[in-house]
């Protein structure tokens, strides 16, 4: 039967169905991108396992290796694309911040940079840089994995802003 042969009464439900159609996102769920409540924990568990697995891989890469460089650049590229495509679940950011309050942050961060720069300039064993202090702490694979997880999560928190 062709569309032209359908009587008015028969076509009405089909037209209504066509009007009710919502595109289904590629990631699954309904038209608003919301997964069913039962599917969310499973999705979060899969994402969490993937993040920890990736962090474990990166944590095991040798320093100064091409593999380590690529494994840092891949999440950077992914999050860079997401940042400019603007993820749908964005965190609300303020229209303005107080200049005086913001300046406290700038001063503290400038102090940190200066303390680090003085260590790098001096290059003396008695004046280690923050990197010299942190690297031995994150050398064990599990701790480095945890540090990578924190880094990946902070990147995700940044692109949502």
């Amino acid at each position: 039967m062709t569309a032209g042969n359908v009587s008015t009464d028969e076509a009405a439900p089909k037209r209504a169905a066509a009007n009710d159609h919502h595109p289904v996102p590629l990631s699954g769920g309904d038209a608003r991108g919301q997964l069913p409540a039962g599917a969310r924990p499973a999705r979060n568990a899969i994402i969490g396992a993937a993040v920890i697995g990736y962090a474990w891989l990166l944590g095991g890469a040798s320093p100064f290796s091409t593999r380590a460089l690529v494994e840092v650049l891949v999440p950077g590229a992914v999050l860079g694309v997401i940042a400019y495509a603007r993820p749908p679940d964005r965190i609300q950011v303020p229209e303005s911040v107080d200049t005086a309050g913001f300046s406290y942050w700038i001063i503290a961060i400038a102090l940190l940079f200066e303390w680090e720069a003085s260590a790098v300039r001096d290059n003396r064993p008695w004046h280690p840089s923050l990197t010299d202090l942190i690297n031995p702490l994150i050398a064990p694979h599990p701790i480095k994995t945890a540090a990578v997880v924190v880094w990946l999560l902070s990147g995700w928190a940044l692109v949502r802003r």
């Binding site: 100064f64 309050g101 503290a108 102090l111 540090a147």
Partner: protein, 66 residues
């Protein structure tokens, strides 16, 4: 106190100040913005977004790839 200890104490003190700023901001003491608020404010512009994300990527490269 050795010179190395002084360096470590310096880093710990500055990081403690940063933590205190975040604590005060979350308690709404003064008009200090939280870290997330001012980062979000800076990232409203594409250039600010690029700088912050480049800093994040540099941290990853610095600590995990070298």
């Amino acid at each position: 106190m050795s010179d190395r200890t002084i360096t470590v104490v310096g880093f710990v003190a500055i990081i403690a100040v940063l933590a205190a700023l975040e604590f005060l901001a979350r308690r709404k003491i003064g008009r200090i913005p939280t870290l997330g608020e001012w980062l979000g404010f800076v990232m409203r512009r594409p250039a600010g977004r690029a700088v912050i994300l480049a800093g994040w990527l540099w941290l990853g490269w610095h600590y995990f790839a070298r």
